[in-house]
Each structure stands twice: as C-alpha cells, then as structure tokens.
C-alpha cells in the first residue's frame, strides 16, 4: 500500500501563485481530507500530483511519480471532474476504454458498475445521467484497476443523502483495507465523519496537516462555558491566571486557555457559586473557518441585519 508524498508543489497563473511550496503526506489505511476555501488551489494541487499540470515540486506514490507508473489505474484511481466522460459513449463502453489502456479484464467493468449501483444503466448514454450518477460512474472508473491509492476531487458533489452516506462508508471501507484515500470536499460535516487526517490549505499554502481531532482541538472555538451570578469576580480571577474570558450573554462566561477542571477549582477555591460548568467543543466547521479566515480567494460581504418594516 502506498504512501503519497507531495513535496514542494507549486503553480502560478500569470505570476499569481495558485499553489506555493505545498508539502504533505497521505498515509495508507486512512481517509485524508483535503480542505480549503474556494480557489485555494485544491484541484490544482491534485492535478499537479498527477502530472496533469506543469509546475514545481513532485509527488510520489510509494517512491514513484505518477508518470512512471505502468498501468497507472492499477495504482492510482482518480476522480477529478464532475462528468469525466463523453455524453454519448455508453457507461460500460467508457469503462471498457479505460480498462483497455490498463490491461484490466472486461469482467472488472461489470463488477465496478455493480459496485457503484449503475448496472441498470450500463448501456445507457451518460448524457441523461444526473450529477450523482455521473459521480458514481467517475468513481467506478477510479476503482476499475483496484488501485491502492484514490485521489478524489469533491466526489460527494451532487449525491443525495443516501449517496453521501454510501460514499462515506465506501471510502472508509477502502481505507480500512489499507488503501490511501485522499479526498477533497466542501461538506465539512461529512468530512468530519469520514476523514482520519486532514490537509488544510488556504491561498495555495499549507495551513495545517494532521489528525482531524488534533486540528479541531487546536481551535479557539473550544471553550469552557461557565454560568455564575458572580461573573465579574470569576472573570477577574481567571484572567489573572492566564485565561481569556468573554461575556457574550449576561451571567455567562466563555473561557478559553484553561481546562474546565481548572476553572472549577478556581471557583471552588474562592467560593464562587457556579450554576453551570461545561465544555464547548468546536466543530470541524468552526475550526476550519477559524484557521482559514482571510485565506478566501473570493470574500463575500456578510448579509446586512434585517430591518424591521413599519407598515403604518
């Protein structure tokens, strides 16, 4: 099973860097999520990894570049486009064509079609396929050579909730077999359920890489919530001990930089009455938004607060 090692990936368009000095590893036996805001360079990175785009750096799959692999689909399965097929070439023929290039037996074509649930439309033209069906056909192509590595760009796009659940379980089962699964997605809640590791980029640069739990636990949004009638006094005590406190609501303190146990101890030692002491755990979305703040290529203005209308 292959370790993906990306080193110093770089690509510029008209002098503007789209990907800059990006290095990371993807380990076998795991699903590694690839996150970044729109325009952060995720798709470009994937194309660079596969030698589809010219740029700096190198990516190896167990020590070999993609362009050095004989019968590449037997090593690396890819899904880079929403509908990567000719609209009038029948689904089965599309896969037969790819199989022919990689000395894959025809029987495997029917196997992967069954695997992704497209047997009934195997002889249909994909021009009538929904986005989700197109993604399934793309995934069937990626799985055709039973590769040890999968590189998938937004594979859940267009899938219905059942399809997303199927995709998640499917990719996790592939990783459990020891394969390396590298997958980008905008669905952070889905990624939180699916990924073991993360590679997070912003404006083409690496922001974070490591286990999902580590990424989430490092977020500022992790906090201790304290409800007390002595908010000012407790706040002062905590700040004096290095914690950061915020009072968003009356009687409620949000404490960061100090564990719940320590907050409780400080309150007890100074006789401060507590009505609530709880941990607020950050979500992957909160951690992601926090770490990628300012790294968006295209920043939208927040919506204006609603204005109450007077009909009088």
């Amino acid at each position: 099973m292959a370790t993906i090692a990306a080193r110093g990936l770089g690509k510029s368009y008209g002098g503007k860097p789209a990907v800059a000095d990006l290095s990371f590893d993807v380990e076998p036996g795991s699903v590694t999520g690839f996150l970044g805001p729109n325009g952060s360079g995720k798709s470009t990175t994937m194309r660079l990894m596969l030698g589809l785009d010219a740029g700096a750096g190198s990516t190896t799959f167990d020590g070999r570049r993609f362009t050095e692999l004989r019968h590449p689909m037997r090593h690396v399965g890819t899904l880079l486009e929403a509908k990567p097929f000719h609209p009038t070439r029948k689904a089965r023929n599309h896969l037969r064509m790819l199989a022919a290039a990689n000395a894959i037996p025809r029987t495997r074509v029917d196997e992967v079609l069954a695997l992704v649930g497209l047997t009934e439309v195997a002889r249909a033209k994909p021009k009538s396929f929904s986005m989700g069906m197109g993604q399934r056909l793309g995934l069937a192509a990626a799985l055709l050579g039973e590769p040890h590595t999968l590189i998938l760009d937004e594979p859940a796009n267009g899938l219905d909730p059942q399809g997303i659940l199927w995709m998640r379980l499917f990719l996790k089962s592939l990783a459990a077999e020891g394969r390396s699964v590298f997958v980008s997605s905008h669905l952070l809640s889905e990624m939180a359920l699916m990924a073991d590791h993360l590679v997070v980029i912003g404006k083409g640069r690496l922001i974070a890489t490591g286990p999902v739990e580590e990424f989430v636990s490092s977020a500022q949004a992790n906090a201790v919530v304290v409800r007390t009638p002595e908010i000012a006094r407790l706040g002062d005590l905590l700040v004096a001990r290095g914690a950061r406190v915020e009072t968003d609501q009356p009687g409620l303190l949000t404490v960061t930089g100090m564990a719940a146990d320590a907050v409780g101890d400080v309150a007890f030692d100074h006789g401060v009455r507590l009505h609530e002491l709880s941990n607020k755990v950050a979500t992957l979305e909160e951690a992601f938004l926090e770490r990628t703040a300012g790294a968006e290529e295209f920043q939208a203005h927040p919506p204006a607060p609603p204005v109450e209308r007077s009909d009088a």
Binding site: R47, L50, G51, L52, D53, A54, F66, T67, E68, L69, H71, P72, M73, V76, T78, L80, E81, K83, P84, F85, H86, P87, T88, R89, K90, N93, H94, R96, M97, L98, A100, A101, N102, A103, A141
Partner: protein, 269 residues
C-alpha cells in the same frame, strides 16, 4: 504504446459519430461516383466518345472527381472530421484528464491517436474508392478499364491525402483545443480562404505578377496530389507535380503536428 493503441481503438469504435461519419463518407462517395458514372454512361451512349474523353476518367470516378484537380476529395473531408473529433472530444467534454490518468504517457496517447485515426481513414477511404470503382465498372465497362494502373496509383495517393488531411485536422484541433473552430476552419480554409487569396492576387495590380506563388497554397497543393489532368514540368513547377503537392501539403501537416505535440507536452491538461 500498446496500451495507448488499445485505448484509442476502443475509443474510436465506441462513439456513434465514428459510425455515422464513416457511413456518410461511404454513401456520399459511392453516391457521387454512381451519379457521375451514370451521367457519363448516359452521355457516351447518346453522343459517342470523343478523343480525350477517357483521360483520367477511371481516377475521376473513384475519387469523386478529386482527380480533376479542381476540387478536394469529399470523402476525405468527411473522414477528416473523425480527426477533429479525436482531439475535440478530449477538450470539449473534459476527457483529456481521464485519458491522461488512464495513460500517463502523453507521447503514447498522441501517437496512438494519429495512428488509429490514420488507419481508420486509410481503410475507409480505400474501401470507398474500391466500391466507387465497382460502380464505375457497372456503368462504364464498355468504354474503359476503371481500375487501370493510373487509377490504382491515384487510389494510393488519395489514401495518403486522406490520412494527411485527417492528421492536419487533428493537429489544428489539438493546437486550438476548439472543436468548433477546427471544424469551421477545415472547411473555410480550402473553400473560401484560398479562393479569396487567389482573387486578391488577380485584382491587386501589384500582386498580379506573383500569382505563381499561389501554387504553394497548401490545399491547392494538396489537390495536385491526385490531379491527373494537370501536367507539371518539375516537382515545384507551376503547377506542382503530385510529389511537389505532397511535399507542400504534407510539410504543412508535419509542421502543425510537431507544433501540436510540443504544446500538448507542455500544456496543462
């Protein structure tokens, strides 16, 4: 390379446009030859044969009159669309990334496309000319031997012309990465652009003395490859000899192919 050839072989056979273009080329080719052979037969049977009437007639029948040197081969132009689609579909439908992740050698994919399309065009052009010749025999067997040595020579040259035209169309599509632009250009260039240049040279007084250079216009030169009516004095004389026409038309094709490969190798997919 075997993998790339296998890929291209399945690709060309599993798309409907290959079959309707192939069918159109055969039907159009045989149809025009039938019409022409019948018209000649009708004329000969009523008016008799004059001296010179049979010059190059067999070649004209099998090439759908392209051997007259006045028009390009209809069959080859229809088949050249296969070449345009070979690259056009890659870019129009985003197939190029799927192709290059199935075949990670750009050189292999590039060569395989030209080989497979070239072979397909060669076989279909040859079969169409054979069938056209058979039709010619049916109508004209009383007057001439359709499959003369000259006809076989023209068939060979027409097959070469068809392959070169398809490769030129492929190279142009690969360079522009636009199927629509390539389709338009491949018909406008010979039918309009070169005629326009001819008219320019005729109407602009300063250019009138230089009309001899017009023999190097590529599609006009291509027509000379199968021309049985013009008589050249030397390879690059005026008009060009069949060899001269092949060198000019083939030279442009090779040039465009080299440029297309250089760009294909360095461009982002």
């Amino acid at each position: 390379m075997r993998a790339a050839l296998a890929y291209e072989w399945v690709r060309i056979r599993t798309i409907r446009s290959t079959w309707w273009l192939t069918g159109l080329a055969v039907v159009l080719g045989v149809g025009i030859s039938t019409l022409f052979s019948w018209a000649i037969h009708h004329d000969f049977s009523r008016s008799g044969i004059n001296a010179g009437d049979l010059d190059g007639l067999g070649a004209a029948v099998v090439t759908q009159l392209a051997a007259s040197g006045q028009i390009p081969s209809v069959v080859c132009f229809v088949l050249a669309i296969l070449g345009i689609f070979a690259w056009g579909h890659e870019y129009r439908h985003g197939m190029i990334r799927a192709s290059l992740t199935a075949l990670n050698s750009r050189w292999s994919l590039w060569v395989a496309k030209y080989v497979v399309v070239g072979l397909w065009v060669a076989v279909i052009a040859f079969v169409t000319m054979l069938l056209s010749g058979v039709v010619g025999i049916v109508f004209l067997h009383d007057y001439l031997s359709v499959f003369s040595a000259q006809t076989w020579s023209i068939i060979g040259r027409e097959v070469l012309y068809g392959v070169l035209l398809s490769w030129l169309a492929m190279a142009f599509t690969s360079l522009t990465r636009s199927q629509a632009f390539a389709l338009t250009s491949i018909f406008l260039w010979p039918l309009l652009i070169e005629s326009l240049v001819h008219v320019f040279f005729l109407l602009v007084p300063g250019l009138r003395d230089h009309t001899a250079v017009l023999r190097f216009l590529p599609f006009g030169a291509g027509n000379r490859m199968v021309d049985v009516l013009s008589h050249s004095t030397s390879t690059f004389g005026d008009p060009l000899s069949p060899l001269g026409g092949t060198i000019v038309f083939g030279g442009l094709t090779v040039l465009l192919m080299a440029a297309s490969f250089a760009l294909f190798r360095s461009r982002d997919a």
